[in-house]
Point group: C2
Chain length 137, copies 2
């Protein structure tokens, strides 16, 4: 698969997430997928996403940057969303936050086999401090 | 510049940082460089790195993953180092920590013009909790 085909496949995966079509996850995610060093398998991966959608009802994935060099994809995802309660150990509690995730994927057999993700927690903390300051002048 | 040439240029940039040859930074970093939305310029970028090397005397950049698609580079950097005091708002205080940075670069005129970096703060927090638990059984 060349870079363009891999980019299209990745965009289809993100569209699948934004449709919340988790029944179709196995089209894009390998049975033996690992996420940040942990073997989740496609079932564990589906549970992780189901929890994300429950915890963040307005969760939507937006691709901001995409770099493809088979078998690797790097993506900067942008989120503008409202976690209901705790998120990454922070009491977000229904505040609207904007943050990025810089994430690498390795593909095997045209499916995601490994994910290395880092979410910009520092940005969320800065927004919660501002929100706290605005709420308590 | 093709992907291989860009990858070699990026590796040379990382080697420059690991030599701490900040006088040579202008070879790799554009005069108008922006870092996480802020225009630093090459002087501001040099000051940022000087502060990093002061705060983290054993700082060393290790490329773990590299994805090149001109004009973009995505890199997962691995650090095993010992921040002297505060780092990302955490009281690391001389504990050895391991963490990753997922970072994107845009190149222009064969120099870095834009950087979008996210550091895995959650991983450092988990190590400090373990360290705290080990220190106070």
């Amino acid at each position: 698969m060349n870079s363009d085909a891999l980019a299209n496949l990745y965009r289809d995966y993100i569209a699948c997430l934004n449709r919340r079509d988790l029944d179709d996850l196995g089209t894009y995610v390998h049975d033996d997928v690992r996420h940040n060093g942990q073997r989740l398998g496609v079932e564990g991966y589906r549970l992780m996403l189901q929890k994300d959608f429950t915890d963040i009802p307005d969760l939507r994935f937006n691709i901001e940057l995409l770099v493809c060099q088979p078998p690797l994809v790097a993506s900067r995802l942008r989120f503008d969303c409202t976690p209901k309660a705790n998120f990454l150990g922070l009491a977000v509690d229904g505040v609207k936050v904007s943050f990025s995730e810089n994430v690498f994927y390795e593909f095997q057999d045209a499916k995601i086999i490994t994910v290395w993700s880092v979410i910009d927690k520092t940005a969320i903390e800065a927004q919660l401090r501002q929100e706290g300051a605005a709420g308590h002048p």
